[in-house]
Symmetry: C2
Subunit: 156 residues, 2 copies
């Protein structure tokens, strides 16, 4: 009896379903069934299974931050002393401006993305929060100029 399966076998129809739900997560099961050529009940069962197995984590709205006055998008490479890594990560994860935070290979490296209303807000965040965090030894910051592709963790 294995509850925590980490790997799920999916077929081409599952892949089509995922792709269609990725383009439009509010499509009805009925329309989805027509597209993939399965019955509505079968499609529902597949989606439920995909969610139970954690393949589909949730359905989300994709927002354009620029349109609501959030004009600065930046990536940070933050180096932290090993002893403070988890503490710093927990503190950073709490910040509203931080949208993603990952631990990467390299010398105690955190990779962070954050959104700011303007450069002033970014500078304030860096000076008053980031630089004051425990164990931070280096901060590299890059600001976004142009989006060539953004499909957010979805590989076709």
């Amino acid at each position: 009896m294995e509850e925590n399966i980490s790997h799920v076998q999916i077929d081409d129809i599952d892949r089509s379903i995922i792709q269609l739900l990725n383009k439009n997560a509010r499509i009805s099961y009925t329309d989805l069934a027509k597209e993939v050529g399965l019955s509505r009940v079968a499609v529902q069962a597949r989606i439920n299974a995909l969610m139970e197995h954690g393949v589909i984590e949730r359905f989300a709205a994709v927002i354009n931050p620029e349109k609501i006055g959030i004009h600065v998008s930046a990536f940070f490479n933050v180096e932290v002393s090993p002893a403070h890594l988890h503490e710093a990560a927990a503190l950073l994860a709490e910040e509203q401006v931080v949208t993603s935070l990952y631990h990467m290979t390299g010398p105690s490296k955190l990779h962070m993305h954050a959104l700011f209303i303007n450069h002033q807000e970014m500078e304030q965040f860096m000076k008053e929060k980031l630089y004051k965090m425990p164990g931070i030894t280096s901060v590299e910051c890059q600001v976004l100029i142009n989006r060539y592709k953004s499909r957010m963790g979805m590989r076709l």
Copy 2:
């Protein structure tokens, strides 16, 4: 008559709607209306307006790549000679493994995220595609170890 407005004024109810749709994009308008305390018709009108104005770009399924056997997630910092920047960006954007690609501040820097089945596939991509692209002067690669936070471009 201004068609291309780049900035939209939204209020607290819009913000609640966006947050709720971000948690669960398949919620019904009826339930959404109950949550935000507006009529169903008003909520529908607001969502339609948010989509028309480009605030909500679309609704997407959030996938856990690990669950379908895609075990390596990596970020790349790619430096390209200015003359080849757009050409290289266009070529990289076409690659299936590349999930996001941004032009960042810095010396013709591209920031890229990609997903691979395993390290072997990553190495193959780097050797056979990335290193052969025109104008590429430097490649930095970091592999993901742990996800502390991932909210994908949504700031609360």
